[in-house]
Amino acid sequence: MSTLLPRLRSGIAGLDDILGGGFIEGASYIIQGQPGAGKTIFANQVAFSNILKDRKVLYVTLLAETHDRLFQSLSTFDFFDRARLGRDITYMSVFQTLRDDGLSAVVKLLRKETQRNNASLLIFDGLLNARDTSHSDLDVKTFVAEVQSQAAFVGCTVLFLTSARVKEESPEHTMVDGVIELHDELAGVRSLRRLQVKKSRGSAALGGFHQFEIAATGISVWPRLESIGSGLEDKVFHNARVPSGIQGLDRLLGGGVPSGSVTLLFGPSGSGKTSFGINFLQQASEEEPALHFGFYETPARLFAKARAFDIDLEEKHTSGHLDFAWHPLTENILDKLAHDLLQRVTRNKVKRLFIDGLGGFERAAVYRPRLVEFFAALTNQLRALGTTTVATWELRDIFGPTVAAPGPEISSVVDNLIMLRHVELESRLKRVISVLKVRDGEFEPIIHEIAIGNQGVKVALPLQPVAGAATGIAQPLEQ
């Protein structure tokens, strides 16, 4: 039978999920990364989070930077509490001990200080400096081995911070229980911070890269969505249908939108996707809380647009039945978007979700080949939460034969497909709607015209029989 080892929570949002529950108590970790990667912030955030749980922390440096400079930069973070210094967290430099008496004296000092301060977390900042000490009487691997064994003896967790990249075959890497690497690099013109657990003994850590950011609250890591097992069961009652809110559409869908399903609504700019969303969200109620998760229109613009249809979304919002999350298309973090979405859906028990649109997630993806797995994970979670989702996808061409749906893989992770198009017919533009797929259900395959006016989108009459309507350029049928 597997045993869950006691954990020391990191206090870094998202990290404990990646580590399989946090650091293992009494274990040793190397935190590595180039200067500026965020190691010191990482370690101090862990430290200050743990003193809130009545733990004592010993922070030992081998750095030239003075502690006052360190405190000055840490004072810009919310977690830093100057009043705790010297009481619950003790900073000390052992540079002189190393210089005068060598690494073995440092080992001895650390043992005494860990006991004297009753520390359950020891942070050693500057392993690289220890390695560079040429006249050392002890090599670094022996130093790491001795420090971690004496710390483990008293149940003290150790974080060794180093700017050097500890190679996988190096003795230090072999000896410690975990290695976490922080990266700060460029992806095109944007900065990209990523964390990777390179070794995790005793824990099933989430592998691969996870993006993180540094803000006034400290570090937040966003576990790659597709690397997380949902642990949720699909609770959807497949036969249940919910009203779409669009007059005439429920009949085409075979009785409404399947409850707990994911619908992809695709069409070019101006084809009526946002208006569709307004009608869909108009159904928000106490029993069916709703969320608009968008990248384009602000809530104020959506309220105004809805008012033009004589629909009062603002009242839905004020009464708490409709939430808005607007993420302008700036430098978004893909997994942060997904975690924000899922957190809101879970917290507000959202039953009706409109995502406008999936392109906002695509723009945030630094590594686009993962999008299929990402959308699969996201839609699986939404289904498991019992949320009925409509997500838009913008077609590039307003007219023309190209219908670039988000690719066959992404189309296959959604349950229902609805296409909106402009059709040019005899010098007149018509907006049309067609249902292409309803998972496990009958649907009306005839293309219908839609009208956008008072009360939003309405499905009107079937489009007159023409050839090529789906391409946007229709031709009268040959007689």
Partner: protein, 122 residues
């Protein structure tokens, strides 16, 4: 010329203060922690102590308590320099004769030291 012990674990700060005090005509001895400073005070004739708070082996507070408990050395002037624990030092006026917040002006430090050396503990 006075003999001054500087108890400071951060070597850059210790080296700078030692050089400054030597330039001012004093003999300055650096100790990397409170315990090393206490041993110096016991074995040498010392006139004044400048100490940090957070240090290995013995804190500045513990050093001051040990000095005040020593019948021969209890009248030694002690200056605490600290970035974050100055308030702790000020809460113990019987232990410390002056408390300076880091970063401090070297001129201010020297003025305080000269006054304590000439007037003693008041």
């Amino acid at each position: 010329m006075a003999v001054i012990v500087v108890a400071e674990d951060e070597f850059l700060l210790a080296d700078m203060l030692v050089s400054f005090l030597e330039d001012a005509g004093h003999e300055a001895l650096a100790a990397p922690n409170g315990l090393a400073a206490l041993e110096m005070i016991r074995s040498k004739s010392v006139d004044l102590i400048v100490t940090d708070y957070m240090m290995p082996a013995m804190t500045g507070l513990e050093l001051a308590q040990a000095v005040r408990d020593n019948a021969d050395k209890k009248e030694l002037p002690i200056v605490l320099v600290s970035g974050a624990q100055a308030s702790i030092g000020r809460a113990h006026p019987g232990l410390f004769d002056a408390v300076l917040d880091k970063p401090y002006q070297l001129g201010t430090m020297l003025t305080i030291i000269e006054e304590l050396l000439s007037d003693g503990r008041s």
